[in-house]
């Protein structure tokens, strides 16, 4: 790990569903500006782990430290309010609204016109444009509904929104799965620029090429336990696959 205090540290996490041990004594750490790929076969416990980190459900055992203090999230909103954001493929955006409206959805700034309170669309667009520029997300027009954007651009807008509201940890579940190759490159490029902004990223993917393109570290889970952890420089795809299948 690159820094002394990790941004996020999960220690000894266990989770049972009925008699099934979904996770058993799993450790996971993430530093600011670090991309950690979570690898593992289906049923290895990847999604259970990210659901615990993002507050979907509490762990049965183990502790979660975030920004230096112990935390227990009541629900996903709680985790989001503290800066842990999950980017979902389909739940992210209202297709019929423009980019600015999506970035500000639920938190619209108001202004007054003729003495009446009105939504400040110009400000929403301008601030959304600033955030997207900062992340090098090039969109030619921000005043069209996001349904007019490509899948990769939409993904970028969802990420831009999270960042606009100060996400410190981004959890991305298969962010490139439904995208064409140029679009995948765009998302990968964005992840690299997020690192430079000090965001910690948890990256789940089945695509080893993507994992090796962006991850600093690879944490492999197998049947609910830590199967191994490698820095990217010190490993290769064959070794990761061996760790995954055991």
């Amino acid at each position: 790990m690159s820094e002394g205090t990790p941004l996020l540290q999960a220690s000894g996490i266990s989770k049972r569903f009925g008699g099934v041990h979904a996770l058993e004594d799993v450790d996971f750490g993430l530093a600011a500006g670090e991309v950690v790929a979570l690898a593992g076969d289906n049923g290895a416990g990847k999604s259970t782990l990210i659901k615990i980190i993002s507050g979907v459900f509490p762990p049965d055992g183990g502790t979660l430290f975030y920004q230096g203090s112990r935390v227990a999230f009541a629900n996903p909103q709680d985790a989001r309010a503290r800066g842990i954001e999950t980017i979902y493929q389909d739940l992210a955006l209202a297709d019929n609204l423009d980019v600015g409206a999506n970035v500000f959805l639920g938190r619209e700034p108001m202004t007054r016109r003729f003495g009446l309170p009105v939504i400040d669309r110009r400000r929403m667009r301008a601030e959304a444009a600033m955030t997207l520029d900062r992340l090098d997300i090039g969109l030619d027009r921000l005043d069209r509904p996001v349904s007019a954007l490509s899948g990769g651009q939409r993904q970028c807008v969802a990420i831009g929104r999270a960042l606009h509201w100060n996400a410190r940890v981004l959890i991305m579940d298969e962010p490139t799965a439904a995208l064409g190759v140029p679009e995948q490159r765009k998302v990968i490029a964005l992840i690299q620029s997020l690192k430079a902004h000090g965001v910690g990223i948890v990256f789940i993917s089945h695509n080893l090429a993507d994992i090796f393109a962006v991850a600093d570290r690879i944490v492999v889970l197998r049947r609910g336990t830590n199967a191994g952890e490698r820095t990217r420089a010190a490993t290769n795809p064959d070794e990761i696959v061996r760790l995954m299948v055991g």
């Binding site: 992210a92 209202a94 019929n96 349904s147 007019a148």
Partner: protein, 343 residues
């Protein structure tokens, strides 16, 4: 699904002309319609259709009640729902107004009697709206079924309150609202224009309007963004019911009697106005201006058919056909671009 939308979006940028035509289809249709009736009037009667103030006023008055139902319905349809109960909510408000005004006027006088009547009628119209909203938002009853049930309930209650007949009402102020003119404009038309302005502002400029679009565009995204979707949904159906209630009040003023079936034929007209005006029954799109154009189209069709001596029952056929065509156009437009079609 997201890949479908992506492909569709790429196609739409290739056919901007077609997309622009589709967006302006309501305006085009209105112009064509007026032109047809104008030609017909000149050829058959040697008179002008649009150049006649009486015709214009009649079309406007024709449009009032369906328009009031339609502007509330616009919000509901944009949110991805539908309100089938509006016709009898209108009737319920009409009956409640007639009874209350009859009771209150002798005691309080004309003005205050009317005010009390209007207040009680608006409150009464809110009841079906609140129940619809709770059913749909809290109990997750599909809007189609919840409001269809409320259609029956409001209908039954309205007829029960009316004693199965119409309730005549006598109040000079109410009569003025229904039949009076101010600076040459019918008061009902002026009040409807006011309602249009208020709802246009609400839909296009307020957070409530923005959340209406968001819920219709992607309910899950709206929930995730922290929007209180339940509260928005309940308010949507209350708004729709209150618009219908106001429709009932103006109806009672115009005919000096409350009738339970006042809004019965208007459900079709109001939904027609909304979908002709460009709102999608899939939710997520629509405007008050579009609905105004849609309501004018419906009114021109209806009045125009009367004007050229076609049997009145053809009006229903014409409006029904126009609804179906509008929905077909909307669907094909969505396949071409603009948004996703859930199949």
């Amino acid at each position: 699904m997201s890949t479908t939308a992506t492909v569709a979006a790429r196609q739409s940028s290739r056919v901007p002309l077609l997309a622009a035509l589709a967006a302006a289809r309501a305006w085009l249709f209105l112009i064509v319609l007026i032109t047809v009736f104008e030609i017909w009037a000149r050829v058959s009667f040697g008179a002008s259709f649009v150049g006649n103030l009486f015709n214009l006023r009649s079309v406007a008055v024709f449009a009032v009640a369906p328009l009031l139902l339609a502007i509330g319905q616009t919000f509901v349809i944009i949110s991805g729902g539908i309100d089938l109960s509006v016709g009898f909510t209108m009737g319920l408000a009409a009956i409640v107004l007639a009874h209350t005004v009859n009771l209150a006027t002798p005691a309080l006088g004309t003005g205050a009697g009317l005010l009390v009547g209007v207040a009680v009628a608006v409150l009464a119209s809110m009841i079906p709206g609140v129940v619809n909203g709770l059913l749909i938002a809290r109990l997750r009853v599909p809007p189609f079924i919840g409001t269809l049930g409320m259609y029956g309930v409001a209908r039954g209650v309205a007829f029960l309150l009316a004693g199965g007949t119409t309730v005549p009402v006598s109040n000079a102020a109410l009569n003025y609202i229904g039949n009076g003119q101010l600076a040459g404009f019918p008061v009902v038309v002026l009040l409807t224009v006011l309602a249009l302005l208020v709802l246009h502002y609400l839909l296009s400029q307020s957070k409530f309007g923005q959340y209406t679009y968001a819920v219709g565009g992607n309910r899950a995204a709206a929930v995730r963004a922290g929007i209180n979707v339940r509260s928005v949904t309940i308010r949507l159906y209350v708004l729709s019911a209150v618009c219908a209630g106001i429709g009932g009040i103006l109806y009672t003023g115009r005919f000096s009697a409350g009738a339970a079936q006042a809004g019965e034929p208007l459900l079709l007209d109001s939904i027609a106005a909304v979908v002709i005006g460009g709102a999608s029954l899939f939710g997520g799109s629509g405007t008050i201006v579009g609905t105004l154009i849609g309501a004018l189209i419906v009114a021109v069709i209806q009045y125009g058919l009367v004007f050229i001596n076609v049997e009145p029952f053809w009006q229903f056929v014409a409006v029904g056909v126009v609804i179906i065509i509008s929905v077909l156009v909307d669907q094909s437009q969505r396949r071409l671009g603009g948004g996703r079609v859930d199949e």
